[in-house]
Symmetry: C4
Subunit: 223 residues, 4 copies
């Protein structure tokens, strides 16, 4: 019989395949984590391991300070940022980090993706904001994510000159946000190449977002 | 033995794989429907279900007001728009909706794709037109589609700031229109990035379209 | 035991998979043909049939006027153009037609792809030239191809507002030319988006082309 | 029992699949080689052979002057360049050559890719530099690679009007550099299409590069 942590190991391992399938990552540059519900623990990708070598068994279990609790490899070098988010945003159950191409292209200019598609209004409810430039090695990246996303409708932040972090109620929701972030970053980029996308009125953005977050899809369990 | 509705359930389920294969959709953002010939019914994708979890069994059967007649899930949140098209365009047997990248890039600027490729003259016989900005929730989207496409040669409309709807004599024809719409939206976009595509004379567009719609391909049954 | 024509049917059927694999075609928009060596016959794709439904058996055998000699379907609607090339260029053993994206983007502007990559000098030995605008239905397309490519080093022509035709000593060589044509059309397009690619001296183009056409690769049989 | 050279044949053969998987090559245009540790030998792709026909058995064993020691085919036409690198950079254990699209787009303009992403600071530690225009046939290409990369942090060089060469401590590291080179060349290109990417301070580049080269990932053996 599988424990809740075993199930989470499998889910986190499997979700990395969505990063590959939607072309959000190359080589080993991207990672998914999940909070262990009700415990001060998280499950995350091992560092520097190829996506087709991931398995439930080699996922790393860490505490919320990023220390390894169980696992034979080092955890992702982005573990500190994931852990910071879980410590400071109790509503977050999953975190994803990628260097997906179009999102990084906006991040490299330090420019937010404007909300000019109804699908963006649905998913993000606002522009996708830019977070500060921050070096790896301490809490700077985690703090930048939390300060940007706290109180923001968007579950995605473009960290300046770096890449994307997304959050969700669970790891699957965070992966979905990473997929949609790249999709709209690409579409809006391409639209702007030949002119200026039309704005959507704030009122319409609000209505679309409210409806999507509260009505769309199957009853919660099936989403 | 399979009933006509069972066959349609299979066809609609399978055609969603073409949306995936031709990169017209990510996550769950796109849907195919078919009219049940001779009945006031349609078959459509369930809402918020992943493409690799679709099967003939979980397709939803609705009446032409979008009410579920048979099915365990909610129907696509775009069902009202599909149903409106079937109610008002009796010649339409299939409807497709996508947020495909290049088509959406034109839609975000509210700009029609000009007919500057012989393949566009063949398939669309004209520019691909823009429909109004419309919020989900009532008949606005359906009405915008019908008012734009009625009397137009193009089987595709770019709904402003939103995405693509295509129609066809059956679901397969509507899927083909969605595939070709993205293909020409991409090619014309890329062409315009480095200059201005050459116009094709209206007379030539007319001749190409007439020939393609009446001569090309295998006898109708085999298309 | 397989006859030479049976082997050619298999080869032509299989080579269509390369068009799919290298993203040169969508739906049914592209075709490969081969001359039957020593006979006034060609083997070509049936019209309007999906790529994953192609088989040696449903390839169409035509004479060099494009009349069906053997086959249950109509031949490709581009058969007249292929046949014209075989009638007027006896050295050609294979012809390919695609609407590949970047090549069509240049074709839509009526602009040749300049020879600014050593790989282009190798394969094409010159710019990839533009052929005339020509309607389907008579010999205009075939004549445009032949008049543009005769005496030109390039095995590929961009037919204005239409697409690509490539030729080769056999069908595989024509497919390779179609693959490389899209590859260099894309790279040069992308290069020009941010400035002007550096020219390569004519003398260097000549040397590269001579070497590649005469020295590169395995002994002829193994190419 | 497998000899060290047999293992290397397999590794070099397999690594070509990464070139395909990451879309760095079309047809036969790209190659991987590895130095045989402790011997004046290298293993390289045969010339003009398709990627899905590669096997450990048809890899070519050459001396460091590029002469075939063992193998039924001709070695890659780029063997002289690989061999030159091994002769002049004893620390190099693997070399990769591709015509990957975005890297070639910068190479065609003779323009270095500026270091404006933290992932570039990690992997390349600097801009990706441009090497001279050089014709195939003598040591010009090899010399251009070595003169550009010697003393440079970047393991990748954009050879003017030509393509990419990357080096690594082994063939896998060189393949990784080729994958990351195309990835950042693409992201920076796309970023610059709509404005100017923000610079990263030299000091920050230095710190990121030092950390990544010394701390990241699993202990060396597992990388």
């Amino acid at each position: 019989m599988s424990s809740p942590i075993d199930l989470l190991r499998r889910q986190v391992s499997d979700l990395h395949q969505d990063l590959v399938r939607y072309n959000l990552v190359v080589w080993t540059a991207g990672n998914v984590s999940a909070r262990v519900p009700g415990e001060d623990l998280l499950v995350i990708k091992p560092s520097g391991v190829a996506y087709d070598e991931l398995s439930p068994e080699n996922m790393i279990l860490c505490d919320l300070d990023g220390n390894v609790v169980e696992g034979d490899h080092s955890p992702s070098s982005d573990t500190a940022a994931h852990a910071y988010v879980y410590r400071h945003m109790p509503e977050v159950g999953g975190v994803v980090h990628t260097h997906s191409t179009y999102a990084c292209a906006w991040a490299a200019r330090g420019e937010a993706v404007p909300c000019v598609l109804t699908a963006m209004a649905d998913e993000f409810g606002a522009e996708i904001p830019v977070g500060p430039f921050a070096l790896i090695g301490d809490d700077s990246i985690g703090r930048g994510i939390v300060e940007t996303l706290r109180g923001h409708r968007s579950p995605a932040v473009l960290m300046k000159s770096h890449g994307v972090f997304t959050i969700g109620k669970d790891a699957k929701a965070a992966v979905k946000a990473a997929v949609m972030c790249e999709d709209v970053a690409r579409t809006v980029h391409i639209s702007r190449q030949l002119g200026e996308p039309l704005p959507i009125a704030q009122d319409d953005i609000d209505r679309l977002n409210y409806r999507y977050q509260n009505v769309y899809g199957q009853p919660r369990a099936a989403r």
